[in-house]
């Protein structure tokens, strides 16, 4: 539940409510209603009143505040058939946030306006394996500045940013707890240096969690409860429940890559034994398929694997088959623990889905019969840049849920 943590805290931990809180809450309600209208359909004040249950008078007043803060703008007229046409409202396209991503072999940044439109995006290849965080962040800051400058002349104001990182993070502390593939342990990131003077600051996300949020926003079926499984070098996951990211008590739930799928299995980089990642991570699959892990870049290895699969090469097929079965075991257990019945496959799991699907469904039927229907096992609808978009989208969403943070 993304909810501004109460500042004051008695023994109960809750904050006192005053009349002003009603305003804040309704401000978010109105803005949320405007944001949730389908893109292109700009609601009038009257429609917002209908959607929220507030009176026209209240909505008028609230909308005025949002206009003053520059979060929304009026756009054209909106004929209703008979009667006076309404004035369309939409999230301001001249306010934006910056999405950023650090991954094993690239960094990227994008400017996304409040309506969700990507105004500019740049990716830069860069081997970040076992690189200290300082230079990586410096390179990212430069990339971010470049992307900003490409839209800077259009009078776009960047309000805040989100950074996705492949590892366990503590968002509250802006700390990366562990990122095995970057070689980072307990690294505190100076996020504000990435985006100085942005009123909303920069938030930190786990890569899979950010991708899950992007998936939530772009899902064609509008699913609001699912587990997003991200297959990268590591195997990550993001749990979405009631359209909210479920992060657990310390901010890093959803680590499906380290569910035990084979008690007699091999060692994992996390220190554990028989984790899903030791069977379904990229390196594990490449190795099991007989592709030398140092036989080229990850993308060439993946092409080789796909060729082998299409050729029906037994080792490749068996490697993916095993990954699918073990993924099924992990998802069966996850279904029981968090009561999720819908899975979205991302990263290499999406690419390998044609070969992965059958063993996965078989495994689910064996270990959690009746929990997942096959229509609930789907492929990600956001591509490569899911983490990037999710990080940006989440910052936008947190603004929509607490617009009073902006000057109003």
């Amino acid at each position: 539940m993304v909810m501004p943590a109460p500042a004051v805290a008695g023994p109960g931990g809750a904050a006192p409510g005053s009349v002003g809180d009603v305003r804040r809450s309704n401000l978010a309600l109105v803005l949320g209603a405007i944001a949730e209208f389908p893109p292109g359909a700009h609601p009038s004040r009257a429609q917002v009143a209908g959607a929220t249950g507030l009176t026209k008078a209240s909505v008028s007043s609230l909308v005025l505040d949002l206009l003053d803060a520059g979060i929304i703008r009026e756009i054209g007229l909106n004929p209703q058939g008979r009667g006076r046409p309404g004035v369309g409202l939409e999230l301001s396209p001249s306010r934006a946030v910056l999405g950023m991503e650090i991954n094993v072999d690239y960094i990227s940044a994008a400017v996304v306006d409040l309506t969700g439109t990507v105004l500019a995006r740049e990716e830069q290849e860069r081997d970040n394996r076992n690189r200290p965080d300082g230079p990586v962040l410096a390179a990212l800051a430069a990339l971010a500045a470049r992307v900003r400058s490409t839209v800077g002349e259009q009078g776009i104001e960047v309000l805040g940013g989100g950074l996705a990182v492949p590892g366990l993070v503590d968002p509250a502390l802006a700390r990366v707890l562990t990122a095995p593939n970057l070689g980072w342990v307990n690294v505190d990131l100076d996020l504000d240096a990435l985006l100085p003077e942005a009123p909303l600051g920069v938030e930190l996300f786990n890569e899979a969690n950010a991708a899950a949020l992007a998936e939530l926003r772009h899902r064609p079926d509008g699913a609001s409860n699912f587990l997003f499984v991200s297959g990268e070098v590591g195997v990550g996951g993001g749990i979405v429940i009631g359209s909210e990211l479920f992060t657990g008590p310390h901010g890093h739930a959803g680590e499906v890559g380290h569910i035990v799928v084979d008690p007699d299995g091999g060692h994992c980089s996390c220190g554990g034994t028989g984790c899903l990642e030791t069977v379904a991570g990229q390196d594990a699959i490449f190795t099991a398929a007989g592709l030398a892990p140092d036989g080229g870049s990850r993308s060439t290895l993946m092409s080789l694997l796909l060729q082998a699969l299409e050729a029906g090469e037994p080792r490749a097929v068996s490697a993916v088959d095993g990954a699918g079965r073990c993924l099924g075991i992990a998802l069966a257990s996850t279904a029981r623990v968090v009561n999720i019945d819908s899975v979205v496959l991302g990263g290499h799991f999406a690419v390998l889905e044609p070969w992965l699907r059958a063993p996965l469904l078989e495994s689910l039927a064996k270990y959690a019969p009746g929990k997942y229907s096959s229509s609930q096992v789907t492929v990600s609808s956001v591509g490569e840049s899911g983490a990037l978009l999710g990080a940006a989208g989440s910052v936008i969403r947190s603004l929509v849920e607490a617009p009073h943070r902006l000057h109003a």
Copy 2:
């Protein structure tokens, strides 16, 4: 997450806020502050003001409402040293709720006043295995009426009730989805018949979830994030995060009994394969220990097992050892999925803890190193009647969180 669903729903799903909501919210804040004071220490209005951050004036007015509704009462004076003594406030001991439990071989009911004191409690042996729900509920209703009558003369008003059942439930529908050991499938319970005219009605709980809530209330270390594992005929679980029960999108998360701990394992009553319950459920342990499952009642079998363990009988020791290891595997996976780092052992796991602990810790160290410290593996502090007390306590808590439901 126990939270009243918003009644009104626009596209956003949120309800409009008006000034009246502030009153409701602060009413709950004040009542919560009073409830959270240590038993015996009755806070004054001034202390409540300090704890909540509200002004004395507001607290006075809110307290008046709560007094009128009969939820709290004034009790004696509260000397502060210098100055005028405050008037003590406490939850009303003349209002109560009814906790009820249906289990495999007994039914029970208790009257618990709002301060948490058990005023009366009765248990009745009764074999409910494969019994239809009608007669079971009728027997429970009779038991409930009897317990009520024992306190009825003291002018106690019963406001509502909670019923705990060993199976998957949908609390919103008052439906038992499956209760394998009762033989119930998709049974709709007529809960209101148990407690007619109670203003708060009767809520339905999963047994392990209710026990987890009781654990939350009675924990000496005040832990607010933990997994409660209940070893009964089946193996159940309740996840507590931020002092809230985590129930997942459909109300039945925490089913740790059906996490896969052995992909090559045996069939489970749930239809799955290699579930924890097939190794660590009561029947499984008895069988593995060489005790015939029909060699007496469950409690005699348990005594026999304990004797065998104390005598160091190899089969018994190995049975419990195996259960401990597999429990460790399940907890390792759970730690990853929901990010929990603290476990409370309940039911037979509590009884067997001396023999269970070592293999469990070993297993946790192997499969989730660094996730649980040994001090975070503890034994339940509520006994047999945990589910009963938890169901009652949860009803009390939901009243404390929404006192406006009562007439005020």
